[in-house]
Amino acid sequence: MPHRTFLWFILPSLLAMILFIALPIGSVLVQSMHVEHEQVLIETETCGPFGCTPSVSVDQNATRALREAQPLGRFNGLRTYTDRNHLATAEVAQAWSETDSLTGFAGRLMNLPFYKALAFTLAYTFVVTPLVIVLGMAIALGVNGLPQLMKGTTIFVSLLPMIVTPLVGSLILFWMIDADGVIGATLQRLTGDPNLSLKASPVLTWITLFVYGIWHSAPFAFIVFYAGLQTVPAETLEAAQIDGASRWQRLRYVVIPHMAPLVVFVVLIQLMDNFRVFEPIVGFSAAANATSLSYFIYSDLRGDVAQFGSAAATSMLTILGVAILLTPVLIRTWRDFNRKRV
């Protein structure tokens, strides 16, 4: 296809992506280096019979005028990145020199909002992803052995948790685990602890969110793996059986290697999706015990005064995280592409 024709075909799509994905990233970068103007202060002297006392007050009009004239704020360089709410370099250095054990240092880090959000985001990504793979594979193997008639129904039901709006899905579970809800009340009865609440302790909140994540994403892995199982070569399986391979060995040495590319695919998609975990934290009202990077940005933007600079700095750091996460994939694809060309 000639370059010119290609350009005309791709133009609308490319324009949309440049304007609303590439430029906003640039806008985030610029915003992250600015902070809101400080309030304009005026010094006045109030003089009375006993002499004059100088007082400082905020000039509301001048402040508003300045903020309207330059909505971006004033240039702040990289200082937003290093302040207490983001990388907190000073606090981290202090914590490092003051604590002598690694656990103590980690405890100090968890008091800093950015590291708290980062820790949950990473934990969520690296706990949920492997469990989704395992559960999805188990369901796929189980369904594969069912009679044909039941497969359609199973797939239909399995699609529900995946396709439901994440916020709605997390609300549905949130209401059920409420102390007065069906699961929450049952847990209280089973453990014999009438004050047990899944919302109160950080550990239980984290586990609840992980369970939600697995419930939400396992169907995706299941469907992909199930489709892959249909294409496992029957001759290889039979040959392996004739050679005396047990059921487990056939699974381990024939089925799983055949599924390897699919596993890579699901892992890639899951890493990308889990890293931006956001809606469940809103749905489960879990912000007190667990915040993610996305939620951190959201709450900055949602506050009484939107903190664009702070939100933008977190966004840049998040984008950096995505880039690190994607690098191995991109390198791999690049190698594959070059191999095909040769």
Partner: protein, 293 residues
Amino acid sequence: MSSVAKRRSTPLIVLSSAFVAAWLIVAAFPFLWTLWGSFKVQGDFFSRADWMNALWGTRTVIETGSAFTGNGYYGAFVEEGFWRAALNTLVVVVFTVIVSLTFGTLGGYALARSGYRYAFWLLMLALVFRAMPHITLVSGYLLPFFEWNLWGHKTTAIIVLVAINQPFTLWMLHSFFLNIPKDLDESAMVDGCTRFQAFRHVIIPVMWPGVVTTGLFSFLLAYNDFAVTAMLLSQENQTMVPQIAGFLGSTFEEGNVMFAVAAVVSATAPLLLLIIFFQRQIVSGLTAGAVKG
């Protein structure tokens, strides 16, 4: 089916069936429970006394005189104006799907037919864009949109959703067009068609299965979105999902949480219809990108 390798021992069949049955309960029970509970009063759905009350509707009978009540739905749709949010969702989603598919088919076709290296780079760029958390992009939009008075309009949200949708749409349609033989449009061009005429008269008639499948996923992305619609739409243009989140913040008074429950059930209903009618396309779409490796 008669393959020896596929035959299983009885304990294994029992075990795997039990496992699948357990999964089905885990997957479906929350939805059934919430659907059933949405017709009860709060005292039953969140029962302090006994969770069985939610099944029989003990409090519901005392408060309303019947075992089922539509009060939650009445409150959500009539008192809180949820119907307007539903209407807004319809507008936003329909236009997002139409525009993304139009842009996506053109772009996906070009990517599938161009043999140059830059087509590969564009696809890689799309993959990177696909991984961007949506909220990071939103934080880039807000300030410029406030300045240029673009904030709050449905059109803005539609365009933003289309753009966020593009990377995925491009990938998916690109792989569908790769499956349509090159000879088809090239022979039309040998017969004297321009590239666009070949696309218009030869490709468009055969591309619908791929477009429908991609459309389903564009629909889901727009319908399920929270980050963009919650931040970029003004109060009167609010769609369903942010509105549900709004119910929670403002109405934790007795009874009003049932508005949110009813709204949640109403927002899930269209998705259920979607699975009933398009299950095959959804499954094929999920596996399309994957099975080819």
